[in-house]
């Protein structure tokens, strides 16, 4: 069973500038990302917004793989701050999972 944590969703939503909620899942970002992972960033954002903590935890390597290159962001029709959102997720993971501040 997938653990749903309102905690994760609540914490990211509370973070200033985190706007993955504006994503309407068009998939432009995923198609353009040089990494070519099917979950980055569209699916990841959906999992984060739904608070699927276990799923997000399993994505940690991909979250730290993002190049922060903004190729996706430049073409996002919904002006989602994709790279900054991913950096925000790193901050939360560092604190929550790795004990790094």
């Amino acid at each position: 069973m997938i653990k749903v944590s309102s905690n994760l969703a609540a914490r990211v939503k509370d973070t200033e500038g985190f706007n993955a909620g504006a994503c309407f899942h068009c998939g432009t970002c995923t198609a353009l990302c040089p990494l070519g992972y099917e979950m980055l960033p569209r699916k990841l954002f959906r999992e984060v917004m739904l608070g699927l903590e276990e799923k997000v935890r399993a994505r940690i390597p991909q979250i730290f793989s993002c190049l922060l290159c903004r190729m996706c962001e430049k073409n996002c029709p919904s002006e989602v701050h994709i790279a900054d959102n991913i950096r925000t997720l790193r901050c939360l993971i560092n604190r929550q999972e790795f004990g790094l501040k």
């Binding site: 190049l67 903004r70 560092n94 501040k101």
Partner: protein, 325 residues
């Protein structure tokens, strides 16, 4: 096993807190490039290297060692490595295998930047041992408390020294000072310009075409964070070169893979390989404007491409022009 993320990030954060840099450098490595240039100490306007070019040889050496460790049983010892690193800087020892040829290259790029700025009539000083790393890796990897603490230290030092304007030499340091510091340092009001913007503003005199052709590789950070796209092209054209655009250039540039070097070296190599193919399709002579792009693309290209930092290219055009006149 893949490289373990937490202990590696931990080493970077510990180093920044304890040693002022993710990769502490000796004074000779950090400042040796300026020997004999007679740069005035300090001043209102200073060139700011942020130690990035100087770190490249050590980062490159470390990345090669990490690539050997990736998927080896030794990855499980990184936790112990972090513990040891609190007492002796492991990254410093790993960096000792840095190639002296790459060090000479980095130093020469910085010297060429100084030469170009001086030719354009720009006056500036240098902070020598007072200069600190800006903190990009720790910021990008999301360790905001450590980054914020460091950023405030750097900003306080700049204030104490009376610095009002920074001339940065790489995109990552530019981005840190322009986009991250204002969020972490109250009233951060130092003007920050990349030397490429400064040179372009000085409207360099057009030189005779030298019949050279270069393929431009934009840095993602310059192009999509800092809006530095036109300036390198203007400067290259003014230097008499014709500029070729690869598939995905300017604001749509393709990353060199550099940001992945420390945690996912194999993936970094895959991404740089894709970019090398795109560049090669447009020509053999490539110009980069970020030291990470330079080192990563070089590694992936081998002898398929001749890759030069834009400062090297611009300075050599000026030298050619002055020897002809």
């Amino acid at each position: 096993m893949p490289l373990p993320i937490a202990p590696i990030l931990g080493i970077f954060a510990d180093n920044l807190r304890k040693r002022d840099s993710v990769l502490p450098l000796s004074k000779k490595t950090a400042m040796g490039w300026a020997n004999g240039l007679n740069l005035p100490r300090g001043g209102k306007t200073v060139i700011y290297t942020g130690h990035v070019y100087q770190m490249i040889p050590a980062i490159d050496a470390m990345a090669s060692q990490m690539a050997l460790l990736e998927n080896s049983f030794l990855t499980r010892f990184f936790g112990i490595g972090r513990l040891m690193n609190k007492f002796v800087s492991l990254s410093f020892f790993m960096g000792l295998t840095a190639s002296s040829e790459k060090m000479r290259h980095s130093n020469q790029v910085l010297r060429d930047i100084v030469g170009l700025l001086r030719d354009a009539g720009v006056e500036f000083g240098y902070l020598y041992e007072e200069e600190l790393y800006a903190g990009a890796l720790v910021y990008d990897d999301g360790m905001d408390e450590t980054f914020g603490h460091h950023a405030r230290r750097v900003a306080e030092r700049l204030k104490k020294l009376g610095v009002r304007r920074l001339l940065t030499v790489d995109p990552h340091t530019t981005k840190m000072f322009r986009q991250a510091y204002p969020h972490f340092v109250k009233d951060f009001d130092i003007e920050v310009q990349s030397y490429l913007e400064v040179l372009a503003q000085a409207h360099p005199k057009a030189m005779k075409p030298v019949n050279g052709e270069v393929v431009v590789h934009d840095s993602c950070v310059y192009a999509r964070y800092e809006n530095v796209c036109d300036q390198p092209r203007e400067l290259l054209r003014a230097a008499g070169l014709s500029v070729r655009e690869p598939e995905l250039s300017g604001k749509s540039t393709h990353c060199c893979g550099g940001p992945l070097e420390s945690l996912f070296p194999a993936e970094a190599h895959r991404i740089s390989g894709i970019r090398v193919d795109q560049l090669e399709a447009k020509g053999k002579n490539v110009v980069t404007m970020c030291p990470f792009c330079w080192v990563n693309l070089n590694k992936a290209a081998g002898d398929r491409l001749v890759i030069n930092d834009i400062a090297t290219t611009l300075a050599s055009c000026r030298r050619q022009a002055s020897s002809c006149s």
